[in-house]
Subunit: 169 residues, 2 copies
């Protein structure tokens, strides 16, 4: 038996850990990309959003009187889950990296969907609004990645088939 | 330098391996769920779809004169990526499991989006149509999971706060 407010605090800490993990993965991905400037630019924009999201979550956690420094079991589990994506992000291949990014954005979308439901359930309107705003940014990034994946796939196949061109990243 | 048809064959093998992995994960998840019958029923429906998808991919691979038994580097990488999700699926907690499922469905959506683009690029209309059909099934599962996540989150919080009830799965 556990109070819904305790779960919400745990999940906010999870989300904070998830955004810190996201920043590391996105930076590594942007640094590797050479031949896909539009994708690289969009990822760099999202790094800025990700940093602001982690700060907004910290403020929610502080305002609720919880602490970001307490890493509970649940937070550890989400960290492990997020790290499951690291291997996918570490790929040297732009199409697979695009697939991993798209999946990770939806992991985040699901996390904020649950957070909005939990914040509304306990009547914390301010946290609900912060999480709704972050949710819109994650959806926007996910939609961009989806619309870019066709183009990246064809570019990759064309570069692969051209002597002297490198396609992978 | 590699031919687009070779990439398409590799990606079809990747997708086949991904669906086999998906079947294992979905079965484990359905077997664990106790208190969320709607979610369990939808997952069980999707297990059937997943098996049929793997068979449809096998037929595409055969028709193209490739072989499902050749596991190349690329297929191995996607297997490793899919296995990154296993830890997430192994969670004993319905909300985190829902997040993992939602992310995995979008990994699959991205895979079939790339496959459709690649099949069209090489002019393999039949493979494009098979992958479009599978893509619709994955989107339908993803949409269902999204619409169910609010409800599962609130049920979980309510069960957690009720003495004598178990909430996790």
């Amino acid at each position: 038996m556990a109070d819904a407010n305790d779960h919400l605090n745990d999940w906010l800490r999870d989300a904070h850990a998830m955004e810190e993990q996201a920043e590391t993965m996105l930076k590594a991905q942007a640094a590797r990309l050479e031949h896909y400037p539009k994708l690289k630019a969009r990822i760099e924009q999202h790094i800025g959003e990700t940093q602001a999201q982690a700060e907004a979550l910290s403020r929610c956690i502080d305002r609720r009187g919880a602490s970001t420094s307490v890493v509970k079991d649940a937070a550890g589990k989400v960290m492990a889950s997020a790290q499951g994506f690291v291997g996918m992000f570490a790929t040297d291949e732009v199409v697979k990296g695009g697939m991993a990014s798209y999946a990770f954005e939806h992991f985040e979308i699901a996390a904020y969907t649950a957070l909005v439901a939990a914040a509304r359930h306990v009547g914390d309107q301010e946290t609900a609004e912060v999480c709704e705003r972050i949710l819109r940014e994650e959806r926007s990034m996910a939609d961009w990645l989806a619309s870019n994946l066709d183009e990246v796939t064809v570019q990759y196949l064309q570069r692969s088939a051209t002597p002297g061109e490198t396609a992978k990243r």
